[in-house]
């Protein structure tokens, strides 16, 4: 059986970044799983979680790539000269609902030795799930379309995001990292904090770029531009996040070996 080959234009950056995203996430997963053998037992779980995050994302990006290219072909056949594919909103949220709580699990694992409790873990998981469920309802139009509905769910979603930002920068996670006694953990949690503050900000920005959204109207940023940014942001956020965790795990493992 021959595969149907879909021609991709040289300037189709959305397709380009889907391909890169999928392969890069897969490579990162392999790296994290293999490198589990290089760290002490205490840190193996953290690398496993990093590998799972990028592995889950790799699978979803594989399907997102196909969805984007498939819809591109469909619109071409229906006479759309530009033929850009649809944004795979459904797949994105399926991916995020799994990987974002896992990223919150990383914060718990990093600060566990400094006294982080299961209660912190559940609070972060709840906040991230809240953020994503509300975001999906608003972006998909599941419970109604219209600007006021989108804004309402957007605000509710942002509450979850701001809770996580607060916890990581000022609240419980930040305080635990500061009291961990390890410079590496402290710096590592701060680095992860930047991913949450800057890297994850792409998602509410993307939300506001939907048709009729403020950034869509004020700056002309539309959903076709935002797919490229989502793909790049996802790759950097997930792989970069995992690499920071890896660096902490390696440094702390070396310290333990030296004792």
């Amino acid at each position: 059986m021959l595969l149907k080959v879909i021609p991709i234009a040289a300037d189709n950056y959305v397709a380009f970044t889907f391909f890169i995203g999928y392969i890069a996430m897969l490579a990162a997963s392999v790296f994290f799983f293999v490198e589990r053998n290089s760290v002490s037992d205490k840190w193996k779980m953290s690398l496993l979680v990093s590998g799972l995050i990028t592995g889950i994302a790799a699978v979803h990006y594989y399907y997102m790539r196909d969805y984007n290219l498939g819809t591109m072909e469909l619109w071409k056949e229906l006479g759309n000269a530009e033929g850009t594919g649809d944004s795979p909103t459904f797949f994105r949220y399926v991916d995020w609902i799994l990987t974002v709580p896992l990223m919150c699990v990383e914060f718990y694992l990093l600060t566990r030795l400094a006294g982080a409790t299961k209660s912190l873990l559940w609070k972060l998981i709840f906040a991230s799930t809240w953020m994503l469920v509300c975001g999906y309802i608003g972006e998909s139009g599941l419970l109604g379309t219209g600007t006021s509905t989108q804004v309402t769910w957007g605000v509710l979603s942002t509450l979850g995001y701001l809770y996580i930002v607060h916890s990581v920068w000022i609240g419980e996670v930040a305080k635990l990292a500061d009291s961990s006694g390890s410079d590496v953990v402290k710096k590592g949690v701060r680095a992860l904090g930047w991913f949450v503050l800057v890297g994850w900000a792409i998602y509410p920005i993307g939300y506001m770029c939907q048709d009729g959204g403020w950034l869509n109207t004020a700056l002309g940023w539309g959903s076709q531009n935002i797919d490229v940014w989502y793909n790049l942001a996802d790759a950097i956020n997930k792989i970069g996040f995992g690499l920071v965790v890896y660096r902490i795990a390696i440094s702390e493992s070396k310290k333990e070996l030296a004792k």
Partner: protein, 299 residues
């Protein structure tokens, strides 16, 4: 990120939501919202200058009020005779004061810190003016006695000041980090805050932009520092007691400005409301900035 930057971020997202819903906030609502925030938080942050100066220099109340009022009277006279120069002085004093409150904790050992304070403030104000030139120009042209203040917006002065001050500032902060005068973590936070400020000034109208910066990044931070100072150096103070200490001078300032605005609206004094506001704020900014410089030097 500290709690003040966090609040700033929260309000950015909140305003983003409002703008998505309504596409605009009418000028009357902008003024009301800004006035409330500035009245509740902005004005009070300067309301214990007397406590600070009297505590630091064992100054009598008579001497304090004498000096404070003298500077107000002299500066008001300058506005009367040389309004454009008075406005420039206001911008320079504000720039230095904003920069000082922002960076004083980081630059205690840096020799050229006063210049950097001024640079930070100039970058801030030029950014605000550059992104909102048209709006500012319309605002100044809307009254006969503020038209001349448009001088600063002429012939690309603002553009060059904006570009050079921001480039030099960021470059210098990176230099300080490179030579370990400040940790990379602190520099990253400062540069991120500069980026947030640029974003706000670009996206939102001038009144909202300035109010957000002034209230959350400047006044709240100063109030927090003043509260800690009172507790450590003067007397143990609860938040309620602190508010009571802030109240008298805050009330007097607001009352005075309100009376002037009413007199202007009823054409009893021949000065536009806009100019009255600018003059009122500038004449209390000068002595306040001097007091806070002494405060930061000694603490």
């Amino acid at each position: 990120m500290n709690k003040f930057s966090f609040l700033y971020l929260v309000f950015i997202y909140l305003l983003g939501s409002v703008y998505t819903l309504h596409n605009d906030i009418i000028i009357e609502h902008q003024i009301i919202g800004s006035f409330l925030l500035i009245a509740l938080i902005g004005i009070p942050h300067g309301a214990i200058d007397n406590v600070i100066l009297q505590s630091e220099y064992k100054m009598s109340k008579f001497k304090f009020y004498g000096l404070y009022l003298l500077s107000i009277v002299l500066y008001t006279a300058m506005w009367f005779f040389l309004p454009v120069y008075a406005f420039f002085l206001f911008l320079l004093v504000s720039a230095y004061h904003f920069g000082e409150s922002q960076l004083v904790n980081h630059l205690s050992k840096v020799k050229v810190k006063k210049l950097i304070f001024l640079l930070w403030g100039v970058a801030l104000i030029s950014t605000l003016f550059y992104y909102n030139q048209k709006e500012l120009s319309n605002l100044f042209y809307s009254n006969y006695d503020t038209k001349d203040l448009n001088y600063i917006l002429k012939s690309n002065i603002i553009k060059y000041v904006y570009v050079f001050s921001n480039i030099i500032l960021v470059a210098y902060l990176i230099y300080l980090s490179f030579y370990k005068h400040i940790s990379r973590y602190e520099i990253n936070k400062e540069i991120f805050q500069i980026f947030l400020i640029h974003l706000t000034f670009f996206l939102f109208p001038i009144i909202i932009s300035f109010t957000l910066y002034f209230v959350f990044l400047h006044s709240l931070k100063a109030l927090s520092q003043e509260f800690k100072y009172l507790n450590q150096k003067v007397e143990k103070t609860s938040i309620l007691r602190f508010i009571k200490i802030l109240f008298p001078h805050s009330f007097i300032s607001l009352l005075f400005v309100s009376i002037l605005i009413i007199l202007s609206q009823k054409n009893i004094i021949d000065v536009s409301e806009l100019l009255l506001l600018i003059v009122s704020i500038s004449v209390i900014t000068l002595p306040h900035a001097i007091v806070m410089t002494k405060f930061y030097e000694n603490n």
